[in-house]
Symmetry: C2
Subunit: 481 residues, 2 copies
């Protein structure tokens, strides 16, 4: 057989192109402030410049990178820019990129312990490290009855929690019989939309999701939660799940975990804690209070891919009793059977989430924790929080702007006193000029600007420039009226 | 504020470490045949060598890479070894690793068009390219009423298909009310276990999943499918979903798509086609017949991360009517609203799958298709199939071994004539010696060895060595009896 013809990239070519790509990325970070943070292309612009049909013949990396530079880059919104203040951050770092590169290079599957033991064992270890860094109770560690797994996103983690809660409450019968339509779940109106999505996916039905009212700080009111549970019980429904947020997406509101946790124990609900961004702050002892009450939770998740310098995707999902999770999601076809699984001595992480196949994601997290050390991570988290608090202070002392929600950490919600239309125009004007990027939310009918500080390289000068730009642009819009 | 202290990796350090990592990966591929393909560590070995507590202070990349080499590598099962013949492949390539590296470096989010337009538009374009390469009907292209999205795995794609099918059948009411318990789905006993998992997750219930019998080639019998549907209809149940496999996992059996598709149209079921590994073969015109009948499908998925040189994760999920998918999975909280979404001129891929956050995965696929060209991809797929067919031919002419299932492509199922215990011992002996790695399945009580050829660098010499080793090891086991 003729094996001579070969289209693969040779090792020498890979070395050459790989080193150029490393330089490309280093150059990108050195020049990132020259790009408009928010891409200014219009719908269809990028696609229109690329050939509609696939190439029959091989093209060179030079041709491909030419198109990256000239066509792809204008269509990029620069999440790694130090002036990216939109949404939640999705930050990254050198060691994380290198850990992810090693994962791509090894190309192993971690669906079973047996398919690459180091992939499972390093993940277990690093998640135990995180449990220690966050001072999570013993039950969330692999050495106890619980444990943790890396998932792609907090959305998948929330779905996993809903499913485990559903099965525990129905004695693992819903998996067999289908949902019976009497389970009820609880969130606040500010809980992340992924929980509503999970409730729909799991066949519970959105009508069986109660939106509990919030207090003046937009945190869930536990008295209203208990009332709702009692009402549902009285009509024969079965409360099974509550999600408490450590930092809601809109305004970083903190639900009262301890109170919600006590209610969840009293009525035997599964409490899931979604600490997607803000959980990272709890690695600093002075912010660990945010997780007070986590000992009452059945599951807890946060995303190092948001605010812990670990590039997407890396959600850490902790569960207090892993047997519930495994019983909920386990499958074992013949072609996956093996001695290690049968011995019971290993974790097979495919039974801990939706997917079967899984990438070696703990490498990047391991690289990040070792490169920074716990002290280094704490230092940078504290710096972000200090910068946000400084920004909040500027707002507080401003004549024209006001804070519209508490700013406990790194997210500041504010508005110009002039009103919704003005704030909307202010946001759009600043974003269209490309020097920085904010997003908005609406609270009680009020249009609000969000300033979220969590990008790896954000420094005081960026925050100061942002505040100056906000003020100047507001003044300009007022004069032009 | 003191911003001087800084634990980040400097651009110069990143350049240096990044280039060393590129060399590390190139060296790995040049030396990969020196490692035992199947890791020989015991449960706990890797974890026991690593510190149980996280480092307080920063460690150097040299220390980290030292541990990679001495502790992690012995715990790796080498999926990228040319003598990896186990499970299905999860192959990779130079251009794919570089595309993935670029994605890590850019670190953008593609949840909305607006969060990085190029991320959405390149994905749409490359999936249209694939639709052309696979000669998929017009309806699966973005320019028509359907379209495609990159998901992580075929498991997630199957779940997405089940959910869209559920909502279409119940007029989008299950999302609101919860599942009513009368929906029924159909697979064969050889359909991938992910569909059963999806049926459980979606609240349909495993008891409402019918396992349809198979013919002598282990393909679903469409007459039995129709019988089962009729029986369910007669008792008032609602058939809604059928999964047809192009290449089952155990033996690569091919379900009769056209017949199943006609039945799905007649009874208004959603037909999903799972072509996870074998779909790639259809980019060669001579194997396109495998997809005959795909025009009857509502959704179709295959994994370039299995057999198309694109590293994990990269599943391509095509849907004939994107409006069903979007209506099923759409969420739109205030903080994600933007002009582009409201204009309706763009795709927001977060509404096409479970997750919200998403990585720029189309880069690696674009790099692969451009680097190889369609001709290059076809060449290597054909080579793998020729090698597998040669191996099957050796088995066919062997006195001691026999084929136990048809081998239409790159998977050969075979067994020594001596019986189950012998075959099991044969497999374990070969795997324990580390020169190559096979896995097994059980069909009709018979223990069967699987030889799956799809690793990027597998050549004739590797397949020939495998066959020699299998024969020699069998003879050795017989003499030692």
């Amino acid at each position: 057989m003729n094996n001579i013809k070969n289209f693969h990239m040779s090792p020498d070519e890979f070395r050459k192109q790989g080193k150029q790509m490393i330089d490309w990325i280093a150059d990108y970070y050195e020049n990132i402030e020259k790009y408009p943070v928010l891409s200014q292309v219009q719908p269809g612009d990028v696609k229109a410049q690329l050939p509609a049909n696939p190439p029959t013949q091989s093209e060179s990396m030079e041709q491909i990178m030419h198109d990256v530079n000239s066509i792809i880059m204008p269509g990029i919104t620069h999440w790694q820019s130090p002036s990216f203040f939109a949404y939640f951050p999705s930050n990254s770092s050198g060691p994380s990129i290198l850990g992810d590169l090693l994962s791509s290079g090894l190309g192993v599957q971690g669906m079973l312990w047996a398919t690459s033991p180091a992939c499972t064992e390093l993940e277990t270890l690093v998640l135990d490290w995180l449990a220690e860094m966050l001072q999570l109770p013993e039950k969330f560690r692999s050495t106890s009855v619980g444990g943790a797994v890396i998932q792609d996103t907090a959305s998948s983690a929330a779905l996993t929690a809903v499913l485990a809660a559903r099965e525990r409450k129905t004695n693992y019968q819903t998996n067999d019989t289908g949902n019976l339509g009497n389970l009820v779940a609880y969130v606040s109106g500010h809980t992340h939309s992924s929980v509503e999505k999970a409730i729909k996916i799991a066949g519970i039905g959105k009508n069986n999701l109660r939106l509990i009212g919030v207090d003046q700080n937009l945190a869930m009111r536990s008295d209203l939660l208990e009332n709702a549970i009692q009402e549902d019980l009285q009509v024969g429904l079965i409360p099974f799940f509550v999600c408490a947020s450590v930092g809601t997406t809109s305004t970083n509101a903190m639900d009262p975990i301890t109170e919600i946790g006590q209610i969840s124990k009293k009525y035997q609900l599964w409490m899931h804690i979604d600490a997607a961004m803000s959980g990272t702050a709890a690695i600093c002892p002075e912010f660990r209070y945010l997780l007070n009450g986590v000992e009452l939770a059945d599951s807890f998740s946060f995303n190092p891919h948001k605010w812990m310098f670990t590039n997407f995707d890396c959600n850490c999902f902790f569960v207090a009793d892993r047997s519930v999770l495994i019983k909920t999601l386990s499958i074992l076809p013949e072609y996956l059977k093996n001695q290690a699984t049968e011995s019971g001595a290993v974790f097979d992480y495919r039974d801990w989430h939706i997917q079967l196949g899984r990438r070696f994601r703990s490498l990047k997290l391991w690289f990040v924790i070792r490169h920074y050390g716990v002290e280094g991570l704490q230092h940078h988290i504290r710096t972000h929080i200090k910068l946000a608090q400084q920004f909040a202070e500027w707002i507080r002392f401003s004549k024209d702007f006001e804070l519209v929600a508490p700013a406990p950490l790194n997210l500041v919600c504010f508005a110009h006193k002039t009103g919704n239309e003005f704030n909307k125009k202010l946001l759009e004007t600043i974003n269209s000029r490309g020097k920085m990027y904010f997003t908005h939310t609406i609270i009680n009918g009020r249009y609000i600007l969000r300033m979220c500080i969590g990008q790896t390289h954000t420094q005081e000068k960026h925050v100061r420039l942002a505040w100056e730009t906000i003020q100047e642009t507001a003044n300009e819009l007022i004069s032009n009226k």
